[in-house]
């Protein structure tokens, strides 16, 4: 973890309430896909944790959804403004376990961290498929971006207005060797229930510090309480004991 002030180079809408922010600064502390940064915003006491969509050559990409006053404030920031973040937070995904045909499962704003993961897996020569789910056609983003990396991409929408009708669990490929999932809890639990392969889940929770000292974001695992911000946000399927 380091405390670094970035400079905003882009802050544009991808959908009605999902935006992409690009920032210049030192991204060296982001060593794995699935890590996050904790963003300081004027007028708010707590930082806001945002997952890393991409980080290379000193350019950090964040994709965030405007859900409250904090992200609302973030959406109004302009190119050239500075943003202080704690960077390199969380454990991130373990690509060493992917096998030959890793499967990326993303729902809504759970999709962004899978982008950097796809890049890293493809760089290892893996055969990557991504299934990304949204509520409706108007909320779909990053299908093209994943495809142009070289993944096979399937899009699902709950209302069937685009791609496959249903949820990501309605479009699971047969031959995946390992999965990496990120999205809302109902989606993660469905993945947990409907997959017989092993994989990893990225979890979310309201956080105080984001670096493991306030134990505000504890979750239950087979080995006891774990801090989502520091021991996670990524947990292996076998670490979790969810009631389905």
């Amino acid at each position: 973890m380091r405390d670094i002030t970035f400079e905003i180079s882009e802050n544009v809408p991808l959908t009605a309430n999902v935006r992409r922010m690009r920032l210049y600064g030192d991204t060296a502390d982001i060593t794995r896909a699935g890590q996050f940064v904790n963003v300081r915003l004027d007028g708010f006491y707590l930082r806001r944790p945002i997952s890393v969509c991409d980080a290379e050559n000193g350019v950090l990409t964040l994709i965030y959804k405007c859900v409250g006053a904090g992200t609302e404030r973030m959406s109004r920031m302009r190119t050239g403004e500075r943003l202080n973040v704690l960077t390199g937070l969380g454990n991130g995904y373990d690509i060493s376990l992917s096998g030959r045909r890793p499967l990326l499962l993303g729902g809504g704003v759970g999709v962004p961290p899978l982008y950097l993961l796809a890049k890293k897996l493809l760089a290892e020569g893996k055969d990557v498929s991504a299934v990304i789910g949204f509520n409706t056609a108007a909320e779909v983003f990053y299908e093209k971006e994943f495809a142009s990396l070289g993944c096979s991409v399937t899009v699902t929408t709950a209302d069937g207005s685009y791609g496959t009708k249903g949820f990501v669990t309605d479009a699971l490929p047969e031959d995946a060797t390992y999965f990496y999932a990120c999205g809302p809890m109902p989606m993660l639990k469905a993945v947990y229930a409907k997959t017989d392969i092993s994989g990893e889940f990225s979890l979310e929770e309201r956080m105080g510090c984001g670096f493991g000292v306030c134990v505000g974001c504890t979750c239950k695992t087979v080995t006891g309480g774990k801090r989502i911000c520091k021991d996670g946000p990524v947990f292996k399927k076998e670490e979790l004991e969810w009631q389905i």
């Binding site: 973890m1 405390d3 300081r40 708010f44 006491y45 707590l46 930082r47 904090g70 704690l86 929770e205 309201r206 956080m207 105080g208 510090c209 670096f211 493991g212 000292v213 306030c214 134990v215 505000g216 974001c217 504890t218 979750c219 239950k220 006891g224 309480g225 520091k230």
Partner: protein, 309 residues
């Protein structure tokens, strides 16, 4: 050359800056960021007799100039703290540390304190009789002078280290609680723990916290904390450790002028992991600004106005 040192219950601190329990873990995460031996000391994660998972999540809520938490004393239990955390702590912190202890019965407190009292690394025991987030314990001891005194008597009977009692602000008369603890043998008083608060999510129409209520900390509580430190410091003859929303060297000095011998810094560590290091670095210049040569000279240094009406 500015003198930042103070003495707390017979132990000298290089400076009065003490990260507060629950905002600093056992120090390891911060030791990765800076040499935490620059601190006066720190108060480690509230420890109980048995390991505790704590409360369900969400446990954290945003507030104006502050935050709510309802962690609920998650901790690995005193045996694990002694077997694992204290030996590891030796590798990155070489000063006497403050042990923060909580419990659900007088026996709990006594048991846990007895074990910690035997540890050389520990300089002080901070008796938390004021956790607002656990049921049938914690705060209930801190809101009744007699109950608080009972805990203190039981612990003092079986310990040698200085006992500092951490008080709850959620009371009508904090001076009465402080005086009862002093009478029962407390070596110091620390205050304030968090103010009981709540937030509701307008979309879900549920409390933000799964525990419904939680403890408010951060700059929002500073004026209430300062008032209580002032009242208690002018009522007891034992040292007072002030805390509540302290975020800067100016806040530290304001707390000391009100009567604090040392000052704990809590929520500030969560939003700025370098907060305590930076406060220590700023203190000499801030002292110059306010013409302070020896920090210990200003303890309880503020003069009240005569009530003229």
């Amino acid at each position: 050359m500015a003198d930042l040192s103070v003495e707390l219950c017979g132990i000298k601190l290089d400076n009065p800056v003490i990260p507060a329990s629950g905002t600093f873990g056992f120090g390891a995460e911060f030791a990765e960021l800076y040499d935490i031996n620059v601190l006066g000391t720190f108060s480690f994660k509230g420890t109980t007799r048995q390991p505790r998972f704590g409360n369900p999540t969400p446990r954290i809520a945003e507030c104006p100039a502050g935050m709510l938490n309802s962690v609920g004393l998650q901790n690995p239990g005193v045996e694990h703290v002694i077997a694992e955390e204290l030996p590891r702590m030796k590798t990155y912190f070489c000063k006497p540390v403050m042990a923060n202890v909580s419990g659900f019965s007088v026996e709990d407190y006594a048991y846990t304190c007895a074990l910690l009292d035997a540890q050389d690394q520990i300089g002080w025991i901070e008796l938390n009789v004021s956790c607002p987030n656990v049921h049938g314990g914690g705060m209930s001891f801190g809101t009744d002078p007699e109950a608080a005194a009972g805990v203190v008597r039981a612990v003092k009977a079986i310990t040698k280290k200085p006992i500092i009692v951490k008080l709850s602000p959620n009371v009508t008369d904090i001076v009465a609680v402080a005086l009862a603890c002093e009478k029962a043998g407390a070596d110091g008083i620390s205050l304030i723990n968090t103010l009981l608060g709540m937030r509701i999510d307008l979309k879900t129409r549920r409390p933000v916290l799964a525990n419904n209520t939680g403890g408010l900390s951060g700059p929002a509580v500073f004026p209430v904390a300062l008032r209580m430190v002032w009242q208690v410091a002018h009522a007891v003859d034992i040292p007072v450790v002030g805390m509540g929303g302290v975020s800067s060297a100016d806040d530290m000095i304001e707390m000391m002028l009100a009567g604090a011998t040392a000052v704990e810094v809590g929520a500030a560590n969560l939003v700025d992991p370098y907060a305590c290091r930076d406060i220590i670095n700023e203190l000499p210049e801030t002292m110059r600004k306010y013409k302070i040569e020896k920090l210990s000279d200003i303890i309880k240094g503020a003069n009240s106005w005569e009530k003229t009406l």
